[in-house]
């Protein structure tokens, strides 16, 4: 009988495919992973504590920096939470514009997901094509807000500026080209048998486990649980749009990939509808310059971010600064299933699993 010893290998914190400062301590037996321990906190920037020393309006740019891949989505969650707290009603047009930019940033985030999966599996070219297409979204963000990535576009009670005229043709041509882009990803990345072999039946997350761990977003839907906050606990004007919630069956890496690809298509549909129905009018509600919500009020508001359920828990103490801000970060909770789905797999599957769980460390560590 041959006895083998296990050994520990540290993936990260400085490692090309850990999406930032993630540290996975893998306990290995040869190429097989016996166990994995996730260490987070390498990008802990104390955002929640900083929020307590900023006024409600001043925290908006920080919220953008939580999930930097889709910077509009956490901003949307935060501003809607504050609006709920202070009872601000947002003008119609602003709501529509918010939906358009959030869905665009969802597409951008999923594009990075596809690209980073490709590069983590060794197909550099797939990443470059995804970034090439993402540039068009970045252009649109630059047009509307002035920044490419961290837009800080939304404000309490509205948005900072109306969309410029050049935005509409850009977004329309982008939506029209989106199916072609997705076809190309299918051709180059997901159609590839090597990639299919590496993703199918890798990192299976069962529906029970997913629910038990509190996994949300595309990762949950890939496990076959049909749950999307945009439809099941709607916020903003999402009930007005018609879209399908894609789900997978097996909960493996392949399903997580395909669910996101389909979500890009559905986001395209939502943007189309929003562009069609967008009314004209005000973009900014009247918000007092120094916003002081009632003392002792607290709200929890959640939005469907590109990573899952992104919640903001705000507590007011009657001053112009929040007493406590807590962020329920989907990446953090999704990452916790990593040991579960890595056990028994190969070392290379750990990389696939990290890539398909799509964590954003900025959001996870906060």
């Amino acid at each position: 009988m041959i006895e083998t010893e296990t050994y520990t290998i540290n993936i990260g914190p400085q490692h090309p495919s850990t999406h930032g400062g993630l540290h996975v301590e893998a306990i290995m037996d040869g190429e097989e992973v016996k166990d994995a321990i996730v260490h987070v906190g390498y990008v802990h920037r104390s955002v929640e504590k900083i929020a307590e020393s900023r006024t409600y309006a001043q925290f908006v740019p920080y919220a953008s920096r939580l999930d930097y891949l889709a910077s509009h989505l956490p901003t949307l969650g935060y501003v809607q939470a504050v609006e709920k707290l202070a009872g601000i009603i947002v003008p119609e047009r602003a709501e529509y514009i918010r939906v358009i930019v959030s869905e665009l940033s969802r597409i951008a985030s999923h594009m990075i997901f596809v690209g980073s999966l490709a590069i983590d599996l060794g197909a550099t070219t797939g990443m470059v094509y995804c970034f090439r297409d993402r540039e068009r979204i970045m252009d649109m963000f630059e047009m509307s807000s002035g920044q490419r990535m961290i837009a800080s576009y939304m404000r309490l009670g509205g948005i900072s500026a109306d969309l410029p005229e050049s935005f509409y043709p850009a977004v329309e041509s982008f939506i029209n080209d989106l199916p072609g882009m997705i076809a190309e990803y299918h051709g180059l990345i997901s159609g590839n048998e090597i990639l299919q072999e590496r993703c199918k039946d890798v990192g299976i997350l069962s529906a029970q486990d997913a629910v038990a761990y509190g996994v949300t977003g595309p990762n949950l839907r890939a496990s076959g649980v049909d749950y999307d906050l945009r439809r099941d606990d709607p916020y903003g004007i999402y009930p007005r749009f018609e879209f399908r919630v894609p789900t997978g069956q097996n909960g493996d890496s392949w399903d997580r990939f395909m669910v996101r690809i389909e979500e890009m298509e559905q986001s395209g549909r939502i943007i189309k509808q929003a562009l069609r129905d967008m009314p004209s009018g005000e973009i900014q509600a009247k918000v007092p310059r120094i916003l002081k919500p009632e003392k002792g009020r607290e709200v929890y508001h959640r939005v469907e971010s590109s990573k899952g359920e992104l919640g903001f828990h705000l507590v007011s103490d009657g001053s112009d600064k929040p007493y406590r801000v807590h962020v329920r970060a989907p990446s953090f909770i999704n990452l916790m299933v990593l040991p579960l789905i890595c056990r028994g797999g190969k070392l290379q599957d750990v990389i696939t699993n990290i890539a398909t769980l799509d964590p954003v460390l900025g959001e996870s560590d906060r």
């Binding site: 050994y7 290998i9 490692h15 090309p16 495919s17 190429e31 490709a118 590069i119 983590d120 599996l121 060794g122 197909a123 550099t124 070219t125 797939g126 470059v128 094509y129 090439r132 180059l188 990345i189 590839n192 090597i194 990639l195 072999e197 590496r198 190969k346 070392l347 290379q348 599957d349 990389i351």
Partner: protein, 345 residues
């Protein structure tokens, strides 16, 4: 033009003999000269190849690639090489010093030795060995040991993992590589590379042995640690695999050897399957260069398109697909030869 280099060699030999040197000494001096020329050409060729690879990856990715230094960025690799020469040479304190230091040198020596038997044109091989193919394959499999030395000597888990992977991979792919070449050997009836080239006077062996070429191509990619089979380096998984602890020139030697191997393997493919130096109008040495470069372009194209295969799939692909297929190819080739011989062709 056709016999340019062979003529030069002949003239040199006869000149040296006329000076009073014994012919054996003249041959030896010529041999050393040929080696030096090969080493210089290989090194310069790698500079071109690295540039080519960067340009090709650029074009595939809809960008330009290096274009600042020299025409079309052609001198970019020279700057890189000079920089690598002047980098600090770190040997980790916990490393196995001698193994760590000899691994890259051995790797490049083996890579250059492969060129000894390659006919780089008609009558243009350094040694006209009658077991040339055998020499090539057995020498090629030695490079595994260098990678293992590098991985073991570095005393780094990533390195060791990369080295182990490379050993497993090379051992598995050595077999289909050798088997796939057997078909060609059976057709040509010789292990001598120049005789195999002559045997392709009527048909290139790619037409008679397409399956063998395919298996050879896949196995060679794995042998080269390239493209979808770059397990030992596997940047996204093992940071830099077996080379993790190597700096500066030592690392560059590995890099150099990898590209040298690429050229050798492509030249062998051109020799065995594409008629070597045979072709109309142009001299034979030019033809083999053209063919080698075209095969290398396919290698690069593949590398920049495919994702990396998983280790266990890699192994099972070799043992479950490639080896049976190449064995069946040998069987069919043998039957075919017997059949055609029976027909009296």
């Amino acid at each position: 033009m056709e016999h340019l280099f062979t003529n030069i060699a002949q003239i040199l030999t006869s000149w040296m003999v006329s000076l009073g040197l014994p012919p054996i000494w003249a041959d030896l001096i010529l041999l050393i000269g040929q080696w030096t020329i090969i080493v210089v050409i290989v090194t310069l060729n790698v500079i071109v190849l690295v540039w080519l690879e960067r340009k090709i990856s650029g074009f595939i990715q809809e960008r330009l690639g290096p274009n600042r230094l020299g025409p079309f960025g052609a001198f970019q690799t020279i700057a890189d090489a000079m920089k690598l020469l002047t980098k600090e040479d770190i040997i980790p304190s916990q490393a196995d010093r001698w193994i760590f230091m000899t691994a890259p040198m051995l790797f490049i020596v083996i890579a250059v030795m492969l060129y000894a038997v390659l006919p780089l044109g008609q009558g243009m091989e350094v040694v006209d060995l009658n077991v040339g193919l055998f020499y090539f394959i057995s020498l090629g499999s030695l490079s595994t040991i260098c990678l293992l030395m590098a991985g073991w000597g570095s005393n780094n888990k990533w390195s060791l993992l990369g080295a182990m992977r490379s050993v497993a991979q090379m051992i598995s792919y050595e077999i289909p590589l050798a088997f796939s070449l057997l078909g060609v050997v059976m057709l040509a009836g010789s292990l001598n590379l120049s005789e195999i080239v002559t045997a392709q006077n009527r048909y290139w062996f790619i037409l008679l042995q397409p399956v063998a070429f395919l298996t050879y191509f896949i196995a060679a990619t794995a042998e080269l640690n390239r493209g979808p089979f770059d397990m030992p380096e596997a940047e996204q998984e093992l940071t830099a695999g077996a080379y993790t602890e190597y700096t500066g020139m030592r690392w560059a030697l590995f890099f150099l050897a990898e590209y040298t191997n690429l050229v050798a393997v492509s030249a062998l493919a051109a020799t065995l399957f594409f008629g070597g130096g045979q072709g109309p109008w142009l001299p034979s040495w030019l033809w083999i260069i053209i063919k080698t470069y075209l095969i290398m372009l396919v290698f690069m194209w593949m590398k920049w398109t495919f994702p990396r295969i998983r280790m266990d799939h890699l192994m099972s692909f070799s043992w479950k697909v490639l080896i049976p297929v190449s064995l069946a190819n040998i069987l069919i080739t043998g039957l075919g030869i017997e059949f055609f011989r029976g027909m009296g062709w």
